[in-house]
């Protein structure tokens, strides 16, 4: 029913096309001009009785009524040609645009698809990492119970060791030492799994650097006659750190320095405060760190090939130290060689931590209302 009735808009659609209107004008205007010229020439000749001059009439009609409109027709043809070219160019650009949009849409769709896949893969990795952390935590928990029994038995046995023959006593001491090592490893693994999951509780506060360093040097090098050289800046401010874990970081660095240095060569401690940070360096006279392994040294389970068969270790110490330093807002850096000595170029590990400050304005308020420290420097 509706198919038979053409809407009014549709009927006059051509009239909105400039080319159609131009075509109409191209035909109508010359014809009109011809009509006007013909009519005016005819009237002129008839009213003047100039029929005898019929040849003039034909000439004038041809000249004004035919050549003029023909010229107009040609001009309009040219305009139409230009317009046609312009419209074709415009259509071409529109088509290109459409192609481009289609291409963009398909690429966007592909990208979105990739994004979805990446998010999925990322979630799977996170899930795996979470499972790994849970697994590590579970294993560490499970290891703690037998370790308690093992350590407790050894503790009691060592207390009564004087009654035992010397070889048995030595065996007990080795067992106690190795059990301690195993306990430390389990603790490190558990701490690491918590650290990586962002769950390691840190008790942050101001920490005086020198007493910690002296305590570490004393306890790590207790059975060693290795000299220690100090170069510590005066008036060191406290750093903002977790005391226990800061000590763990420095102990790690000193244990390494001791492990890889030849006997009797010193370990140097250098401490500097600069621009809101304190840098604590532990420098040894060991074999140095080859440049090709420097970048990997702080990675988990990484052990330099040259050390794999010569020195015991798990490749966790420096990774743990780096993660701990980062968790406390600090960093660990490495420099090697440090000395012009082919036999012991050495390595310098520097842990840099923030200075513990009082927020601006608070210090004055405290001084004004409650007094000041006696030896504040």
């Amino acid at each position: 029913m509706t198919g038979g009735i053409e809407p009014l808009d549709e009927k006059f659609r051509h009239w909105r096309d400039p080319r159609f209107i131009l075509r109409i004008i191209q035909i109508v205007l010359p014809l009109t001009l011809f009509g006007i010229v013909f009519a005016s020439e005819a009237q002129e000749h008839l009213s003047g009785g100039l029929l005898s001059e019929g040849s003039h009439f034909v000439t004038e009609v041809l000249f004004f009524g035919v050549l003029g409109p023909a010229f107009l027709y040609l001009v309009f043809s040219y305009i139409q040609k230009l317009m046609k070219e312009q419209i074709e160019a415009k259509d071409k650009v529109e088509k290109l645009n459409l192609d481009l949009e289609a291409l963009c849409a398909s690429r966007t769709e592909a990208l979105e698809q990739r994004n979805v896949e990446l998010i999925k893969a990322n979630n799977e990795l996170k899930e795996l990492d979470h499972m790994k952390s849970d697994f590590v935590a579970l294993v560490s928990h499970e290891l703690r119970a037998p370790l308690t029994v093992l350590n407790g038995s050894l503790e009691i046995a060592v207390q009564q060791a004087e009654a035992l023959p010397l070889p048995t006593r030595r065996i007990l001491e080795v067992m106690a030492r190795e059990s301690d090592r195993l306990t430390r490893l389990v603790q490190t693994i558990l701490d690491l799994s918590q650290l990586e999951a962002g769950k390691l509780p840190l008790t942050l506060g101001p920490v005086a650097v020198l007493p910690i360093l002296e305590h570490v040097a004393e306890s790590v090098l207790v059975h060693s006659d290795r000299p220690v050289k100090w170069d510590v800046e005066k008036d060191l401010p406290p750093v903002w750190a977790d005391e226990t874990y800061m000590e763990e970081i420095v102990s790690n660095l000193v244990r390494n320095a001791d492990k890889y240095s030849k006997p009797h060569r010193p370990i140097h401690f250098t401490v500097r405060a600069d621009k809101g940070y304190v840098s604590i360096s532990v420098i040894d006279h060991g074999p140095g760190i080859p440049s090709e392994i420097k970048d990997h040294l702080f990675e988990r389970f990484y052990r330099g090939k040259s050390f794999e068969n010569t020195t015991p270790g798990w490749g966790l110490g420096l990774y743990f130290a780096r993660k701990l330093a980062e968790a406390q807002g600090g960093i660990i850096t490495l420099r090697s060689p440090c000395w012009e000595d082919e036999n012991g170029p050495g390595a310098q590990f520097t842990v840099t931590l923030k200075i513990s400050e009082i927020p601006e304005g608070k210090e004055e308020a405290e001084e004004g209302s409650h007094g000041r420290d006696l030896n504040h420097r």
Partner: protein, 225 residues
């Protein structure tokens, strides 16, 4: 002679620890799960309980809750769980100390001794310092304010106890350095004010208007008891 009840499903540990504590002059009993532990508490009324968390038939936290409904007996948690929320939850439920596995038997014995002494009303001050509702347990290194466990660094703990031990007196900065870091650091450790400022942030409900820790201008610090 004090009787200690060990509630832990690790039989090797309960036997070894039991023997060790007997050697230290205590009598011991053991239970392998929460149910058996609760039964033993009603039957024997022990003087102190060592309680594991991860156990079958009612875990340690549930057992602890049940015990605290009926008894104030001192409890030391003995567990592999080191996560802060578990520690805090245990303290909020009323444990007296929290020891993580693996532990040194000698250290555990010292903590048992401290907790038992704390329960002895004739000698309340041996292990405890108080300033109003701020309580410091010296052996377990815990600080509680109005029952809430506060987290201090070891230095902050030493600083607080150094001032609280001399309650009512003004403690000079040199004395504080001497007690906290050692004689060799007197004149070496500066910035004591920064330690005190951060300590106040942790112990004072309103650090700008201290309730416990006062600075006596030109002399040092004192605790308001």
């Amino acid at each position: 002679m004090a009787e200690i009840l060990i509630i832990d499903d690790d039989q090797a540990l309960t036997q070894l620890l039991g023997d060790y504590l007997v050697g230290q002059g205590y009598t011991t009993r053991s239970a392998n799960d929460g149910h058996a532990g609760l039964r033993a508490i009603f039957e024997r009324k022990p003087d102190l309980i060592l309680l594991d968390i991860n156990m079958p038939n009612r875990d340690g936290i549930e057992t602890l809750t049940r015990i605290r409904e009926v008894s104030e007996v001192p409890i030391i948690m003995l567990t592999a769980y080191v996560e802060e929320n578990t520690v805090l939850r245990s303290f909020s439920l009323g444990v007296d100390d929290y020891v993580t596995k693996p532990f040194s038997f000698a250290q555990l014995a010292a903590r048992i001794h401290a907790v038992l002494n704390r329960g002895n009303k004739n000698d309340p001050d041996e292990d405890e310092l108080r300033a109003a509702d701020l309580i410091v347990h010296l052996k377990s290194k815990r600080v509680l304010r109005n029952g809430e466990l506060l987290t201090l660094t070891p230095t902050e703990f030493k600083l607080l106890t150094a001032i609280m031990r001399r309650s009512g007196e003004v403690v000079s900065v040199d004395d504080l350095v001497h007690e906290v870091w050692g004689q060799q650091y007197v004149g070496e450790i500066g910035y004591v004010r920064r330690y005190i400022w951060h300590l106040r942030q942790k112990i004072e409900p309103d650090p700008d208007n201290p309730r416990y820790l006062y600075n006596e201008r030109g002399y040092g610090y004192r605790v308001q008891s």
